[in-house]
């Protein structure tokens, strides 16, 4: 085989060499060209793609947080925003001297858990350990100056509340990853939406505009704090509600909470929407509205309230009996328990319940800040329950839910759904009637009389020029084994201006004491009513309502130029 092929091979080698010369050159050239093209392509690729920015993406999954839109008040003033903060982490593999790191960090963070940190740093397999998150720039600088190897910072977003404790209950709070867990912050997560980000990328969503007004909110909180001090109360709450749209202009509950430092202490629960109370005589507003609306009575109908009512083991009596028959109007003005109980009995349990259901008081209700504490209703609704409910006992409601029902009584009789988010200017509000306009007008007159007349229980709430109208309520708080006589919730339900109500103000004081200021009494007429009066005189101008002299008898009927009311908007 070999011998045979040898000559053929050698002859083929010499003869085609000259013939194949150009071919080989061509092949070599082509190979070279390909080679250069490959290099060129690689260069182009590198030029286009770059070399990558060299940053490591070691811990992306760990450092995830949420970018949240701002929360502003109805005039665009800031309530909550995201700012950048530094978070300190350690890379155990790069830490040289564990003890030095722990000791030096303990100087900056006195409350550092040294044992836990030492344990974390000992695990050389881990490349990422959070030491402390969301530091202030100054603390971050201090740590930086220690110059310890293996420590580094990540920028993260932190929620800031420039107003401090202002509207703390309403805003709720966020967790360490900037995720909303309560109140409006939770609503922002669930409804408005947040962006999941790594590092510190600020959200680009438009701000969430609440219905509350920072100025009004502050005035309410300041006046409540003042009232708590004056009347030595355990707490206080107030709501300012737009009776037309249901927008809550202010919602305050004392003691306040700081949204930046959430606590879960029970004493700090939101009293406006988070708890229910037996509200007492303010509830008579609804009982009498029901009696008038169902045509059972007119303000002039006379009831014999001289006898105490007995129902089961209860005796219903009046605090200051007048020992004469009273008209329905007088039942309201003198806050007669017997009279209201008689009216409710006359209507019957069924009709009374139907009315309360229509006023949205018997079912659960929710707002953007979460569900309102559901009403506590009597187990079985018999005659006794009908009577006690008539003057606000045996039924416990969240103040916000009651305020919404009371707003329908004064606003001409249409349904009010409370909201914490500003309604767009052009959105029409469907007017669903729940009461006749006549009943509403009569109730407005009664409420106004209760403040304007000398004998009225609400006379201390009068503010010149604002036509305030209202109803007091002093409810004994249930304690162990019955009601505690001196522990009361005194409240004042008011609206202004009464000729055409714009805003409802509901003030509650919890366990006020009889101080010299209130003449030694714990009655709402001596503490809650004057508080509401002071509140209205302060918030009226802020809400764009200026006092007039028209409502004052004998005055020349002057008014501020309404268009000059100061309104401002910030971006």
């Amino acid at each position: 085989m070999n011998g045979n092929e040898q000559p053929r091979d050698s002859s083929a080698e010499t003869a085609p060499r000259a013939a194949n010369g150009p071919l080989r050159t061509l092949i070599a050239t082509a190979a070279m060209a390909l080679f250069f093209m490959a290099i060129g392509a690689q260069l182009v690729r590198l030029a286009l793609m770059g070399l990558g920015d060299g940053s490591i993406s070691l811990n992306e999954a760990v450092a995830q947080s949420f970018a949240r839109p701002d929360i502003v008040d109805r005039n665009g003033r800031l309530l909550a925003t995201d700012v950048e903060a530094y978070s300190l982490f350690a890379d155990p593999a790069r830490v040289i001297d564990r003890d030095e790191v722990v000791e030096k960090l303990a100087v900056v963070f006195p409350d550092l858990d040294r044992a836990a940190l030492r344990r974390d740093l000992s695990d050389r397999n881990r490349r990422f350990v959070w030491v402390r998150r969301l530091l202030s720039p100054r603390t971050a600088q201090q740590v930086h100056e220690l110059g310890l190897p293996g420590l580094d910072f990540r920028r993260e977003l932190r929620r800031a509340y420039p107003g401090g404790k202002l509207a703390g209950h309403l805003l709720g709070h966020v967790n360490i990853d900037n995720k909303g867990v309560a109140g409006i912050e939770r609503y922002v997560d669930e409804v408005v939406g947040v962006e999941s980000v790594q590092g510190a990328t600020l959200a680009e969503r438009p701000p969430v505009r609440l219905s509350i007004d920072i100025g009004v909110q502050h005035a309410v909180e300041a006046e409540l704090a003042d009232a708590v001090q004056r009347f030595e109360a355990q707490g206080a709450a107030a709501i300012v509600l737009d009776v037309g749209t249901g927008e809550v202009m202010a919602s305050a509950s004392l003691p306040t909470v700081d949204p930046g430092q959430p606590s879960t202490s029970l004493g700090n629960l939101d009293k406006v929407a988070g708890s229910t109370f037996e509200l007492g005589s303010v509830f008579k507003t609804l009982t009498i509205a029901m009696a008038l609306d169902s045509g059972l009575a007119t303000p002039e109908t006379v009831l014999d309230v001289r006898k105490e009512l007995t129902a089961g083991r209860f005796t219903i009596k009046d605090l200051h009996p007048l020992r004469r028959p009273l008209s329905v109007a007088e039942v309201f003005l003198h806050s007669s328990n017997v009279g209201s109980a008689m009216l409710a009995t006359q209507a019957g349990a069924q009709r009374f319940q139907d009315f309360l259901r229509q006023m949205q008081l018997l079912g659960p209700m929710r707002t953007e800040a979460g569900p309102i504490a559901p009403p506590q209703l009597p187990q079985r609704w018999g005659d006794v329950e009908t009577m006690t409910t008539a003057y606000g006992h045996g039924i416990a409601l969240a103040p916000l839910q009651f305020a919404a029902a009371a707003a329908s009584v004064v606003n001409g009789g249409h349904k009010v759904t409370p909201t914490f988010v500003k309604r767009p200017e052009d959105s029409g509000i469907a007017e669903i009637p729940v009461l006749s306009a006549n009943t509403s007008a009569t109730m407005r007159t009664l409420m106004r009389r209760n403040v304007a007349e000398r004998a009225g229980t609400g006379k201390r709430a009068e503010v010149a020029g604002y036509e305030v109208g209202g109803k007091t309520g002093t409810a004994e708080m249930p304690g162990v084994g019955g009601y505690r006589e001196k522990a009361v919730i005194s409240s004042f339900l008011s609206a202004f201006p009464m000729s055409k109500p714009r805003y409802l103000v509901f003030v509650l004081l919890f366990e006020p004491k009889g101080t010299t200021e209130s003449g030694g009494e714990v009655l709402a007429s001596r503490n809650a009513a004057p508080t509401a009066g002071r509140l209205i005189s302060r918030i009226g101008p802020l809400l764009g309502l200026l006092p007039t002299q028209a409502a004052i008898p004998g005055a020349p009927g002057l008014a501020f130029d309404a268009s000059s009311a100061a309104k401002y908007e910030t971006r």
Binding site: R155, A219, A222, A464, P530
Partner: protein, 104 residues
């Protein structure tokens, strides 16, 4: 033939140079883009902080004492006068037209 090869060689050199320099430029631009993106991010962060600080300084519980110190207060019906003369008659050196806090 030689001239073609020579030209090709020159072309290769020239294109390599062009490629390299444009590559270099691209990197420079990329650095600048990254730098500017960082600057934007930083500016946005600063804006957020300034906004928060401004809101903190304008918070009502800080403004209220300042306004009270200037003698400002809620509008009251007492500030209404029936005529310009009436208003002038009320003008006394210590009456600034503002009312003190009510209800104390």
């Amino acid at each position: 033939m030689r001239i073609v090869i020579l030209a090709a060689l020159l072309m290769t050199l020239a294109s390599a140079f062009v490629l390299y320099s444009s590559n270099y430029d691209t990197r420079q631009f990329e650095l600048r883009v990254a730098e500017q993106e960082r600057a934007i991010e930083k500016a946005r962060g600063d804006i957020a902080v300034l906004k928060a600080e401004r809101a903190h300084l304008a918070r009502p519980d800080r403004i209220e004492p300042l306004a009270r110190a200037l003698g400002l207060g809620p509008a009251s019906e007492k500030q209404l006068a029936s005529s310009p003369d009436d208003a002038l008659a009320r003008l006394t050196p210590d009456a600034t037209g503002s009312v003190q806090r009510k209800g104390n």
